[in-house]
């Protein structure tokens, strides 16, 4: 069972993502800010990280940069959660080292499918 780290400061959304992923058969680790995300990424070694951009303490970009700088976490695919109509976020996300993006809002049944797809791509 793949372990997904979800980083999102909005608790309701975080929970929604968690439920959606759990329903899709994933193990979910949660983090509500950048620092926590880094800590969990190092300690729990997730298979994939879903990363929100606007967060307190450390932004999603900064978290991503730090993850990609570190050899221990470099291999973990990072997927940004970007808002629709904020296309510049996609570009900035790639620049920060992100591997893919998912546009919010998403339908709960679509999210696990998308994550599965990305994981499959990375396993190759």
């Amino acid at each position: 069972m793949a372990k997904i780290l979800v980083v999102e400061d909005e608790k309701d959304i975080l929970e929604l993502v968690e439920i959606s992923l759990q329903l899709g058969g994933f193990e979910v680790i949660k983090a509500t800010d950048g620092l926590e995300a880094l800590e969990k990424a190092f300690t729990q070694e997730p298979d994939l990280i879903l990363l929100d951009i606007k967060m307190p303490k450390l932004s999603g970009y900064e978290v991503c940069k730090k993850l990609k700088e570190n050899p221990q976490t470099r291999h973990i695919p990072v997927v940004f959660l970007t808002a629709r109509g904020q296309e510049h976020e996609i570009k900035a996300g790639y620049e920060a080292g992100g591997d893919d993006y998912i546009i919010k809002p998403f339908a709960p049944d679509e999210l696990p499918k998308k994550v599965q797809e990305i994981l499959r791509r990375f396993k190759k």
């Binding site: 909005e10 309701d12 959304i13 929604l16 439920i19 959606s20 329903l23 606007k54 808002a83 629709r84 109509g85 904020q86 296309e87 510049h88 919010k104 809002p105 998403f106 339908a107 709960p108 049944d109």
Partner: protein, 849 residues
Amino acid sequence: MRKQSLWPALFSAILAIAVTWVLYRAPVGSPLHALRYLYFIPVILVSFLYGLGPGLFGAFLVASLMLPHILQTAERNFFSEHLFSLLIEVLLLVLSAVAVDQWLGTQRRQRDFYRALSDLGELLASQREADSLLKTLLESLIQLTGASWGEVILKENKSLVRKVVLGEPTSRKPLKPLAQPERKTLADMVLEEGRTLVSTNLELDPRFSRWADTPVRFGSFLAIPLRIKGEPVGLIALANKPEGPFSPQEIKMIEAVISKGEIALENLWLLESEKKRATKLAVLNDIARAISSALDPKLLYSVVHREISRLMKAENFYIALYNPEEETVEFVFVVENGKVSEGEKRKVIPGKGLTEHIIFTGKPLLLCGDVERELKRLGVEPIGRPAKCWLGVPLIIGDKITGVMAVQSYEEENLYTQEDIEVLQSIALQTAIALENARLLERTDEALAQKVKELSILAELDREMAIASLDLERLLRLIVDRAVSYTGADAGVLALMEEKEGERGLYLKAQVGYPPEIEQYAHTPYPLERGITGRVVRTGQAALCPDVSLDPDYDPVRESTLSQLTVPIILEGKVLGAITLESSHYNAFTMEDLAFVRSLADRAAIAINQAMLFEGVRQASEAKSAFISEISHELRNPLASIKGYTDLILEGKAGPLSERQEEFLRKVRSNAERMQKLLEDLSNLSKIEAGQIPLNIAPLQVEEAVEEVISIYREKAEEKGLSLQVEVEEGLPPLKADKLRFTQILSNLLENACSYTPQGGKVTVKACREDRFIKVEVADTGIGIPFEEQPKIFQRFFRGSHPMVRGKQGTGLGLHITKKLVEMQGGEIWFRSVPDQGTTFTFTLPVWE
């Protein structure tokens, strides 16, 4: 005089002998014998016709030939009455011959004289030059009188000039004026009194001083004035006649000869003055013509010089121009000994230089003779090589003296006359006009060029200012740059009043030509209390300092600055800053520069104002867009939660739902979706309006992009029972557009077309090239747009009144955003619509070139 010949005398003698022989042979008492005394008739006839000499010769020849006959007769009747009567006859004959000869001789001499006089008149009249005429006249007089010395003196320019001298000693020295200022000479007396002077021996005559400073000793002497129109113009002196003093009769003859000379001279002078006048007129005419054609001053000078040379000696000539502002004279054209050379420019100092003297007096000046004494009298200290004769006239325009024109001679003392002054003056007048014209033209030319330059700079600035996204810093740099290049300044700076970190003062905005230290004022203010610039900003008064050392406020920032121009930048009475220009020359800035920099300052003020307004608008717009972005983000998350959980419940993840619960939850979800769309559009729009949408312009393949969008809608169209057709022209060039935005535009249009076309309808997308654009058409067979709504459809938040429109979720922002996106990429959008028949939207985007 006719040549004497012996033949007539011989002939008359033979005739006389023959007649006498016949007469004496005749017997006494015959009629012929009675006529024997008529034999002397031939003798008298010969005397009459050929003069006394031949007559007497003939008489004596007859007498001697007749002697044997007389002696023969005398043998017979010696001392007879015959002999006595014969002697008486011979004596009578001789006496009558002498008397006739005397009478006839005088007549003849007179006749010969008049004949000679008439010849001389002709000879004199044929002379082309005064000098040769006078010489011929003197030669004739000397020949006529037998005088061994003679001279002709003429009055020229108030002094007497010896024109011709004949006889010993033949002086080859240049002719010297005879007049001596201290005392009157004999020649002066002759001319003043206009009377003939005769002396039997001038050397011994106690009444007179010596005639002249020649070593000639004069015996008999005669001086006759030469008169033209009754006025004595000169004299002819003759001396040392071998036969003694001049007789009254001779004097009369001489006077007659001289009068012939006078007539010839008068005519010659008239002719010469006519000629001179004609030449003068021609020269003036030529100069006038040259003037109208030669607008190049250098050419004009040489033309003027060439023309003057036709009227007078001008081997040493110059034209000097006076500059009253600089107080200098510049010798713009100098001819020295016939060679054109470069002239100097010098400061005008009163009392120094003849040129300066003319400039001060404004009057022509002719210096002849004792030039040094004249200069002393005028109080003028000459500059340069002293001339022996100097003639200068002012160049005058109106009442302004613009320069001096002068001719001079280093050798000849009396080269120029009063008449030359007039000639030179009239040429000077023409020249001054010509120079003024040339100057005006040059100035007009310059002014025109300057104006063009000025206007093009201002136009450039205006263009720069018209750009919506005004870059103020760039514009200010441009203004300083143009101010410096236009005025020829060495450095320029523009500073604005600002408050930064609580420090109020002048902050440097743009500079050219200053040392790098000046850049400190970009961060720390230049105090208002300092320098000319500070004063200008405090007072709002521009400062034009021809010499900065004279301005007590001057604060040196740049080492070599000598003059400065500072103009305040004023907007609505408030000083915003200043433009300062500095030059390493004195007096570098003119009033024109000031006016021009003022207009630059005005532009700077407007631009600053405009930039401030822009900045305000930009900030407001940015704030609004930031606010909207913030709000939509803040709203987005709760909405996402609402929608997400609704989805979960609807999917049955929270347990089974009643039908009614499901129906209500679907409404919740649909409204949440609508709100999401609204937020998205709002955020998009605010970004477009704030100019914050980054365009990623790249070559875009139309067919590919269209196909991509179509693929999204194909399914939807099928669901709705619509036929979706694509007609893209083959071989279309790529578009110059942002792919994401193109997709957005086409999606919006297709979304509308599909939404508002009832089942069974048709939606067609066409793309074709039109000139340098690609035209994309989205046509449907839908409900159309009511005519009264057509003008409003691109307006924000406008939604159509048709139930099909009302029945669909929408924000009323879609077409507004679409239009903005098209226009942002240099395209246009329009539509055609007929209610119930359909609508065709068309947009264009430029081709990639």
